[in-house]
């Protein structure tokens, strides 16, 4: 652009720069001299256009700076910044040639109203985790409904552990609790948490993990806002419930965990079913079993009754048929009956002892005997031998 402009020419009105040449040169100089940088300031004159682009001014006591954040960049943000709030922006300074205006093209905008630089660090770590997909809701795993082994990563001394043990014992004593003692605040907390979380992958048959601590001052939560700790949580092979004990502050650890619980007790509840409820369900199933068996049993009972009916009927039929045969046999028996013989006029003689007198020699003259005829007995006496 300016290669044809020598000092002499530029020094005289004949060689004057055009406005466009100046702004273009200024832009090149600015862009070469000030690459991407973080800027802290207060939002002022914010305006979002229909195109989705945001225009605002960043100001502090001494100066102000025009900013633009394109729709393609600002669509990742959860909300528009409020007027007057402190923010951190990352952007590249440039010159808007048409207006001859120094401007910052903003790539990233972080709320800086609380926590100052600490917040900035948090937001940068969050952005890094998000880039790696660790905050993706699709990563969240469901908590197993009936855990047998629950690992707890927390301080051995804190109230958090006590609360967790109490809740698990009350709700689901079936489970075993494995405590991985850690430091949860101070300088040692970060490496301690990372080491304990790394141990989890070496424990067998683990169902769920609770990581956290009881409440504490905001600065005490710092370890749970460490990107290293968050990545260690994300690497745990089973579902993780975080319980950092702060209702209002969401930590990085919370964001990466599969479930965020407001307190350690709530985490223990999220990790366990209630035994009484499960027992009641089993009772219902037991009733279902008996009820379920009744239907086929009733059906079989009906069938048995039908079979019994047919059995009785067939027996009756058998008896009926047998009856005819009996009658025939009876008639044959009857024909052989001695009474029938007597009926034809025969008589049987017996002595006093009842012996049948078959031969003439059996009859002793003068002795008495009895004659059996068809309708009774007659007393008789032998007169003499013929």
């Amino acid at each position: 652009m300016g290669q044809g402009l020598d000092l002499f020419a530029a020094a005289s009105p004949d060689g004057a720069w055009t406005v466009a040449q100046v702004t273009r040169r200024a832009r090149a100089v600015i862009e070469a001299g000030l690459t991407g940088l973080w800027v802290r300031g207060e939002i002022s004159g914010f305006k979002a256009y229909d195109s989705g682009h945001w225009y605002f001014t960043l100001r502090d006591r001494a100066a102000q700076l025009r900013c633009v954040m394109w729709a393609s960049e600002n669509k990742r943000l959860p909300a528009r910044p409020d007027e007057g709030v402190q923010v951190f922006v990352f952007g590249t300074p440039t010159v808007w040639e048409e207006r001859g205006e120094l401007r910052l093209t903003v790539r990233e905008l972080l709320a800086g109203d609380t926590g100052g630089p600490w917040r900035l660090q948090f937001e940068r770590a969050r952005a890094a985790l998000e880039r790696d997909g660790l905050l993706d809701p699709a990563r969240k795993r469901p908590i197993p409904p009936f855990p047998r082994r629950i690992a707890v990563v927390t301080s051995r001394e804190g109230a958090a552990l006590h609360d967790i043990i109490a809740v698990v014992t009350r709700r689901w004593p079936v489970a075993e609790i494995l405590v991985l003692p850690t430091v949860v605040q101070g300088q040692a907390a970060e490496p301690s948490l990372v080491a304990a979380l790394a141990l989890l992958s070496r424990l067998k048959r683990l169902d769920v993990v609770i990581v956290g601590r009881g409440g504490g001052a905001k600065e005490d939560l710092q370890a749970f806002n460490s990107e290293r700790v968050a990545r260690a949580v994300a690497a745990v092979p089973v579902p993780v419930i975080s319980a950092v004990g702060h209702e209002t502050d969401v930590t990085l650890c919370d964001l990466v965990a599969d479930v965020r619980a407001p307190t350690p007790s709530a985490a223990a509840e999220a990790a366990t079913p209630d035994r009484e409820t499960v027992l009641a369900h089993l009772d219902r199933l037991a009733r279902g079993l008996t009820r379920g068996l009744r239907t086929p049993t009733v059906r079989v009972g009906e069938r048995a009754a039908r079979v019994a009916d047919r059995l009785v009927a067939s027996m009756e039929l058998w008896f009926e048929r047998s009856d005819g045969r009996l009658r025939a046999a009876g008639a044959r028996l009857d024909a052989l009956s001695p009474l029938r013989v007597l009926g034809r006029g025969y008589a049987v003689a017996r002595d006093a002892e009842g012996h049948v007198l078959r031969r003439a020699a059996h009859f002793v003259p003068g002795a008495g005997f009895r004659l059996r005829v068809v309708d009774g007995e007659v007393a008789a006496r032998v007169e003499e031998r013929p």
Partner: protein, 81 residues
Amino acid sequence: MTGQPAAGKGGAGFAQDLERLEAIVESLESQDLDLDQALALFEEGVERLRAARERLATAEARVRQVLSDQAGNLRVEDIER
């Protein structure tokens, strides 16, 4: 129906027992089974029910701690409460 693993064996967890139990009750209630099938399901159901209740019978959660020494060896020990 047949060929199901016996209740409470090895890896078959509580959840599977419960699911199987629910399936058994459902088939008993809804399907047109003959008595042999129904009885077999019923017996399996009773067995799984027993196993499930047995699992719930533990009185107190066992609490142990996992410690790692300098060499990275894990040690698991009971916690005095």
